[in-house]
Symmetry: C2
Subunit: 219 residues, 2 copies
DNA sequence: ATTATCTATAGATCTATAGATAATGC
DNA sequence: ATTATCTATAGATCTATAGATAATGC
């Protein structure tokens, strides 16, 4: 079991020991994220990870019990960051249709604005599609809200969540293998498809999908 | 490089040598498929795979150059079988909307009728979503056909394919983590959502999604 | 005689840990 | 004095191959 610092605080709190510790840990997570994004995670040895992080080999075990523990943490870390980016764009929006539209467009554009994050999402997102924490519960809540207000029309919101989330990951995959298909246009098309799926009339779906984004993505 | 049999024919053709060879190869692929379905593929050693296949360790190298070559083959093999099952159900259907409806419902029900196949599809399907062979080109063709006849309304058929395929994988994932959500009802709901996404009016989407399947799945 | 399979093993990793070193706290 | 990091390494895999064995062809 990795040692715990005497007091656990935010990453930049504590004394110099704590900060150094946090830096090492963060370097390992960053290296793991990069490997995840490259698809090289499965083959990477702990030695390679430590080298990438520019950290002594033994330090690994100060922070993680095993490789898979590190990669699990790195996935959660990436999805947390993803959630924050989405919140920054869609957080204050009232209309559930616009929330989804903005989230979808933002996510697809991440292939260019945040490529590493987008690759992690593409490769590992489906496993987290129904997690009890993170983005999924909020998306579910937004679907239910849309149903309650009559804007959406779906029977089981969890099924709709699966379909919405899966279709986003599908387009990330497409853009990943066909780099010629990309950019705002593909994102708007998908947003319109998803809004139709959720029950908006085609014309309205299209209109919402083309509204200006509430905030440009901030990196 | 694994040796080639003197003549390559179908799996049951040739002399007894060829058949024995084919049996060993097939046992390795089956073991790999089972491991893929269990999610244990990443950690499995060649020794474990050979043991599962009830095959001598060295035989592995008669057939595959590496573990990943075997797993790649096993994924293709599973998706081929998947394609055949889908063809059996949707092959003779004319209406593209009904083709998708039947394919979707059949795929979701595979969680019960063909669990191993469904798990492989769930874990590896997204990588094959835009392959040049297999199911993807046929689905793309059906989308284009639907657009040409006015039944579907989408801008870029490849984006629609991503969304359709991804949403199916999303529901497979949901059923995998929440076994209480399953069965024909979930499958019909997703089929209706997908048809709406492709441009059918909600009432019609629902009607098509509930038509009797052209053929019951045959195992 | 030919070919695939099987057994045994050398050599190459790779993981986990022990102990030394460096950085910081008090 | 305390704590994290780093270096070195023992022991445990794991892969790939060589050579023996078993099955089949002709």
């Amino acid at each position: 079991m990795p040692d715990q610092p005497r007091e656990s605080r935010g990453s930049h709190a504590g004394n110099r020991f704590d900060r150094r510790r946090a830096r090492t840990r963060s370097a390992l997570i960053s290296a793991a994220r990069a490997l995840l994004a490259e698809g090289a995670a499965a083959e990477a040895s702990i030695q390679e990870i430590a080298d990438r992080a520019d950290v002594g080999f033994g330090s690994f075990y100060n922070h993680f019990e095993s490789k898979s523990a590190l990669f699990d943490t790195a996935v959660m870390d990436a999805l947390d960051e993803y959630g924050q980016l989405i919140d920054a764009v869609a957080g204050g929006v009232e209309d559930p249709a616009e929330v989804f539209s903005a989230s979808v467009r933002m996510t697809i554009r991440m292939m260019e604005t945040h490529p590493e994050l987008a690759q992690v999402l593409r490769r590992r997102g489906i496993e987290q599609l129904h997690a009890d924490a993170g983005l999924a519960p909020r998306a579910l809540r937004d679907i239910e809200k849309g149903v309650a207000t009559g804007r959406f029309s779906v029977e089981d919101p969890r099924i709709a969540l699966s379909a919405v989330g899966g279709s986003i990951l599908g387009l990330l995959q497409l853009e990943s293998v066909r780099p010629d298909i990309s950019g705002p246009d593909a994102a708007e098309q998908l947003a319109a498809l998803i809004l139709r799926m959720l029950g908006l009339p085609p014309g309205e779906a299209r209109e919402v999908a083309r509204r200006p984004l509430p905030l440009e993505p901030r990196g």
